[in-house]
C-alpha cells in the first residue's frame, strides 16, 4: 500500500480528534480527542519515516508516546480533582470564569 493511504488515514484521524475537542462536552471525551490527534501525528511520522527510509520519525513516535503518557497522568488528575469537587465532567458546566 502506498504511503498516501496512511497519510490520508492520519489526516482523517486528526480531523476526527480535532472535531471531537471542539464539539463534545464531556471533558474525558475531549481529552480522548486530543489523544487521537497525537496518535494521528504518530501515524504520519511512521509513514513518512518509511517513505524516507530514515528512522528519526520512528524515534519521534516513541517520544510522543512517552509524552502522551505523561499528559494522561496530569490530565486525568485534573479531571478527577474537578469531578470530586463538582460531580460532573461536562465542560459546559465549568462556567464560573466568564467575561
Amino acid at each position: 500500500m502506498s504511503v498516501m493511504a496512511y497519510l490520508i488515514l492520519a489526516s482523517v484521524l486528526f480531523t476526527i480528534g480535532a472535531v471531537t475537542v471542539l464539539v463534545r462536552r464531556n471533558s474525558i471525551v475531549v481529552f480522548m480527542g486530543v489523544e487521537l490527534m497525537l496518535n494521528a501525528a504518530n501515524l504520519a511520522f511512521l509513514a513518512f519515516s518509511r517513505m524516507w527510509g530514515d528512522f528519526a520519525g520512528q524515534l519521534a513516535a516513541f517520544f510522543v508516546m512517552v509524552v502522551a503518557a505523561a499528559e494522561v497522568v496530569v490530565g486525568l488528575a485534573i479531571i478527577v480533582a474537578l469531578f470530586r469537587t463538582r460531580r460532573t465532567v461536562s465542560v459546559d458546566d465549568e462556567n464560573l470564569l466568564r467575561h
Partner: protein, 540 residues
Amino acid sequence: MSPVSTAPDIVIDWTTLSPVIIVLGAAVASTLIEAVGARKARSGVAVQPPYLRVVQAGVALLAVAAAGLMALRLALQSEDSIGLNGDGAVVVDPMTLYLQLAIAACALIGLLVIADRTVQGEDAFAPQAAAVPGSEYEHKARRRGMTQSDVFPLVLFATGGMMLFPAAADLITMFVALELLSLPLYLLAGMARHRRLLSQEASLKYFLLGAFGSAFFLFGAAWVYGATGTLELTGIAAAVATPTGLDRILVVGMVLILVGLFFKVGAAPFHSWTPDVYQGAPTAITGFMAACTKIAAFGALLRVIYSVAPALNWDLEPILWTVAILTMVVGTVVGLVQKDVKRMLAYSAIAHAGFIMTGVAAWSADGLTGSLFYLFTYGVATVGGFGVIALIREVDQEGHMRGEATGLDQWRGLGRRSPVLAGVFAVFLLSFAGIPLTSGFVAKFAVFAAAFGAGGWFLAVVGLACSAAAAFFYARVIVAMFFSSPPEEPSVAVSGVGIGVRTLGLTQLAVAVSLAFTVVVGVVPGWFLNFTRGLAQLLW
C-alpha cells in the same frame, strides 16, 4: 541516512548547557527532597517538618539564580559558546542565552512571590491540592498548617522546559520542551488556596486547550518531516531552500507548527484560554506563567521562523501579519470592557503578544532586537504587576484574610489607603501602556521602529492605534485607584494599612526589583538596548 551499526561519537559541551542542566537537576533533587521529607504519617493527613518548605524554596531560588548567572556569563563571552550542542538537539547561540537569562530573571522574581507567605503561615496555594474544596480533609490539612511544597519542583521543571524551548534545534526536542514547560503549569494553575473552584476550572481549560495546541504543533512537525526528511531545523532550512515537489506539504506543516506556537504565546484567534487561566490561577503563578511562558514561546517562534524565513517568507508573512493585527485588536478591544484586574491584564498580555509579533514580522536585525528587548522588559514588569495584585486581599467580617481582591470596584480609592502600592502599580500600568520614561516605551518604540524600517508601516500604524486605545483601559485603573472615593465599607486589606497583609516581605522585594528594572531601563535604556542589539547582531 543508514541505520547506525556502531555507536557514534556524541560530543556534548556541558558548560553551554549548564543553565538548563542546573534547573532540571535541581528539579529532580527537589522532587526527591519532597518524597523523603513530606510523609511522616501513613494514614490520614501527613505531617510536614516545618523546614521542608524553606529548603524547597531555597533550592529553587538558588538553582534559578545560578542558571541565570551562568547564562549571563556565557552570553558575555558568547563567541566561543555558539553552536549546536547535545548531538544537534540543542542550539546555544546568543538568542538562546539572552532568552534563558530573561526567563531566569523573571522566574527568580516570580519565585519570590511564590515563596512568600503571610505571617500566619498561609501561602498562595491550597494546603492539599488533592483535597476536595470544603471537605473535612481539607479543614484538617488547613488546621495542621500543611503546605503544598511540591509547588517548587513543579516551578523548576516548568522553568527548565522554558529554558530548553527556545534552545531546541530539532522539532522533537522542541515538542518535549513544550510539554515539559506546560504540564507543570497545568497543575500549578489549579492549586489556588482561595476560590479553588475557579482555580480548578482554569486548570482544566488550560490543560485541554494547551494539549489541543500541542497536538497541532506535533502534527505540523510530522508533515514538515514528511516534506524535508529531517526534524532538525538546519536540515529543514536547507531543504526549504531547494524546491521539491513537496512544497505544499511543507507549507501546511509550517502553518500547523505556527498554530501550535500561537496557542502558547496567546495570539488571537488562539487566545481563548488566556483570560480564564490568568484569572483563575493563583496570582503568584499567573505572574510567573505570564512572563516566562511568553518569553519561552516567543523564543521558539523566533527560532522556527528565523530558521526557515529566507525561503518561506512569502508564504508565512501574510499569516504573521494577520495574526499580529488580529491579536492587537482583539486584546485591546475586549480588554476595554473588563471589570476584573487579572482578566484585564490577560487581555493586555494578548495585545502585547501582538505588539511583539510586529517586531517578529519585521524579519530584520532591528526587529529581532526589538522583540527580544520587549520580551525581557515586558516579562519583568508583568511579574511585578501580578506581585502587587497578590498583596491586595479581601478580608471577611471577622478580619480573616481571603483571596486577592481583583474586582476593579474593589480597587477604588486604593491610592488614598495605600499610596505606595497604588503608585507602584500605576508605574507598571504606564509601562504596559508605553508611556515615556518606562521600559515599555522603549520596547514599543523598538518594535514599531523596526516594523517601519522593514516596510511594515501598516502593521506599525495598527500597533500605534491599539497602544493608544489600550492606554485607556490602563488609565481606567489609575483613575479608579487615585480619583474615586473608596467604597463605604472597605472589604480590602492592603499592606501597611490597619490590619494589612503582613507577609515575609518577599513579594515586596520582588515588586521593588521589577520596579527598579522598569524605571532604570526606561530612563537610561542605552546600555540594555546595546546589550540586546549586540547579541541579536551576532545572530543575524
